[in-house]
């Protein structure tokens, strides 16, 4: 069964336990941060697989704060996987999008960073400061979930904001929560976006106010999976190769009959550089 996490934004208290748990479990170094008034945790980077961002929004006269945990969404059909030309990234049957587990351990990656261009959520980050860098992002705690454990972040969450489980069951629960309480926005973010993601969010504040990608260039984000779009074009490659090749061969044969013969060695010569 493919796993998932349901994030209920209404429950988050910004304690950042998930961030700490993530750093500890993945043994990631800390980075020096800058002080900011709103305690926002900033952006993802190659040492930080997850952050909690603060969003201030208004409901009537009331100013309300919401806290949104961000990390890799683990798409059902990941753009990064389809973009990887050595197939280093894979979607495991458990749902994690990670470097393919191999004996050689991660050593297919060329470091081309096309996955970073491809990701619609701009999640993958790069170890810019290293001589032989990898692309880094949330691994969905692949080792833990294989042992039947929750992800480190959902284990650490004290308010049940993060609920780890089977994706389809979580999706049903998300809609059940939405339908039983009118405060929720009638939308599960991640149900359909880009073909669906393993991480899903529900909220009482419109998602666009929380910094989610809902509209881009004045139109809703696509619900098609990105790999399916690319494949629509790529699948023609063999036919173009054969068809165009046959056409060129035929044209060359046809025009050759009428062509004159040239002695190319007589026609061209080296240039004498002038003084």
């Amino acid at each position: 069964m493919s796993k998932g996490v349901l994030v209920d934004v209404t429950r988050c208290i910004d304690c950042k336990s998930c961030m700490v748990a993530c750093k500890v479990w993945n043994d990631l170094p800390s980075r020096k941060t800058e002080f900011s008034n709103d305690l926002d945790a900033g952006q993802l980077n190659s040492d930080t697989y997850t952050v909690v961002n603060n969003c201030i929004s208004e409901k009537g006269d009331e100013v309300i704060w919401r806290f949104v945990k961000r990390q890799c969404m683990h798409c059902k059909e990941p753009a990064c996987e389809s973009a990887c030309f050595t197939h280093s990234f894979v979607k495991t049957k458990e749902g994690a999008v990670i470097y393919k587990p191999t004996v050689l351990d991660q050593d297919y990656c060329v470091g081309c960073r096309y996955c970073m261009i491809a990701c619609p959520f701009s999640v993958p980050t790069f170890q810019w400061e290293k001589a032989f860098p990898f692309v880094e992002k949330c691994t969905f705690c692949y080792e833990r979930t294989q042992q039947g454990l929750k992800t480190a972040c959902s284990q650490a969450c004290p308010t049940e904001t993060l609920k780890f489980g089977d994706r389809e069951e979580l999706l049903a629960e998300a809609w059940q929560r939405i339908n039983s309480n009118p405060k929720y926005i009638k939308h599960v973010y991640g149900e359909k976006e880009y073909g669906g993601t393993s991480w899903m969010y529900i909220s009482d504040v419109p998602f666009e106010q929380l910094g989610f990608k809902t509209n881009v260039f004045n139109r809703p984000v696509t619900e098609k999976s990105i790999p399916s779009l690319t494949w629509q074009v790529l699948k023609w490659t063999p036919y173009i190769f054969v068809g165009w090749g046959a056409l060129l061969t035929a044209m060359r044969a046809y025009t050759k009959r009428r062509a004159e013969v040239h002695n190319e060695e007589e026609m061209y010569g080296p240039v004498d550089p002038k003084e």
């Binding site: 952006q43 389809s82 973009a83 030309f85 050595t86 197939h87 990656c109 060329v110 470091g111 960073r113 096309y114 970073m116 261009i117 619609p120 701009s122 980050t125 790069f126 810019w128 400061e129 290293k130 001589a131 032989f132 860098p133 990898f134 881009v216 260039f217 696509t222 990105i226 779009l229 690319t230 494949w231 629509q232 074009v233 790529l234 490659t237 173009i240 190769f241 165009w244 090749g245 060129l248 061969t249 044209m251 060359r252 025009t255 050759k256 009428r258 062509a259 004159e260 040239h262 190319e264 060695e265 007589e266 026609m267 061209y268 010569g269 080296p270 240039v271 004498d272 550089p273 002038k274």
Partner: protein, 388 residues
């Protein structure tokens, strides 16, 4: 025939270029040892910068002259274009080598560069690009071998190459057709990131089509530069008859672009006053419509300045288009900021200097350009109908 010895005249300008190459080599070594962060301004928001955007995408597009000329000369046998055939092949070969070098510089784990040959991520557009570029560069080296062995006598090898030439020529058109379009398809994944004036399911068509019509323009610009440098007469009649092809291809490009924008319902975005829309309008008006008009008007087209200016606009226009795709169109959605560091610029300048030096060395030592009659006043008319 001009002697069999090797020669390379040293001028002050060439010394300057050699120094620039050496600086770039030193910077590149530093980058290989200390990583990309050490000398580039690339970051998580802007994983691709100058080397991919300019050196790779534009280098390959500018090399488009190789395959469009090969198609015209070797497939359609339009013999009047023979004088430019070898120069176009050479520029193309050097352009591809630049692209391969910049790709090698840009990949983080460069010792793994060969992996895609053995680990097939065939659902990636980059996989197709990588294979096609590698194979096509090899093919161009072999095609060039035919010229190389005219000077360096090795009859057995030349004979083998002669047998291989037809399949090589045909593969040498299929492969670039495929990957010129794939370079555009690379950005299909950037749906919702690339501004809709550039993002389209037809972007592979726009890339391959523009690379093709760029070819004759590039040949014109490069031919004029070479003629200027060596005090020769430019191949004006060849340049002029090429304009017709370029012009019609550009008209088709423009029409398809308009249909595509309308079909996707984003035509209005071209006039919404945003930074992207203005850049798009410049691209369309200055670099597509203006050259079309210049090519269409006989009194401009028949003059050397006219055909060269229009061709220069086409060349700059394709570079402008690629820059818009890589930078302008992505800026709004990815945020952050990127401007190339001095080292990124120096390495780029060094690579293009190396290209210029290689070009000069090769045309001065191999039979690339048509032989020039030394009686300048009267042009001898070859049987094939061009002024040599």
């Amino acid at each position: 025939m001009y002697g069999r010895n090797w020669s390379f005249r040293i001028t002050w300008f060439r010394i300057l270029m050699i120094i620039l190459v050496l600086v770039a080599v030193a910077a590149a070594l530093y980058r290989f040892i200390f990583g990309l962060g050490a000398i580039t301004n690339l970051n998580d928001q802007w994983p691709w910068g100058l080397w991919i955007g300019f050196d790779l995408l534009c280098g390959i597009a500018l090399a488009g002259g190789g395959f469009s000329t090969a198609l015209v000369v070797h497939i359609l046998h339009k013999d009047k274009y023979l004088p430019i055939a070898r120069a176009a092949l050479l520029t193309s070969l050097l352009g591809y080598i630049i692209s391969m070098v910049s790709l090698f510089l840009d990949i983080g784990r460069w010792f793994n560069f060969w992996r895609p040959f053995f680990y097939w991520g065939f659902h990636s557009v980059l996989f197709e690009v990588f294979w096609c570029i590698s194979l096509y560069t090899t093919i161009q080296v072999l095609e060039f071998g035919d010229i190389f062995f005219e000077k360096v006598k090795f009859p057995a090898l030349k004979k083998i190459l002669g047998y291989m030439m037809t399949p090589l020529l045909i593969l040498g058109i299929i492969l670039p057709s495929l990957h010129q379009s794939s370079l555009g398809s690379l950005y299909i994944v950037a749906i919702d990131k690339l501004y809709p004036l550039w993002w389209s399911m037809l972007i592979p068509f726009f890339f391959v089509w523009s690379a093709f019509f760029l070819g004759p323009a590039m040949v014109t610009v490069e031919g004029t530069l070479a003629a200027r440098a060596y005090g020769r007469d430019p191949e004006l009649p060849v340049f002029q008859s090429l304009t017709k092809l370029t012009m019609w291809m550009m008209i088709i490009y423009f029409i398809v672009k308009m249909i595509d924008l309308n079909y996707r319902g984003v035509f209005g975005m071209a006039f919404n006053g945003s930074y992207e829309s203005n850049m798009f309008l410049i691209e369309m008006i200055v670099f597509i419509l203006l050259p079309i008009f210049m090519y269409a008007i006989p009194s401009i087209r028949t003059k050397l300045w006219g055909v060269v200016t229009a061709s220069l606009l086409v060349v700059v226009g394709v570079v402008f288009n690629r820059m818009n795709v890589v930078f302008t169109g992505m800026a709004k959605s990815v945020g952050g900021s990127y401007f190339p560091s001095i080292w990124e610029f120096l390495i780029t300048i060094g690579m293009w200097s190396a290209l210029a030096l290689a070009y000069l060395f090769i045309v001065e030592n191999f039979s690339i350009l048509p032989k020039e009659e030394h009686t300048h006043s009267t042009h001898t008319n070859y049987g094939t109908g061009f002024n040599a």
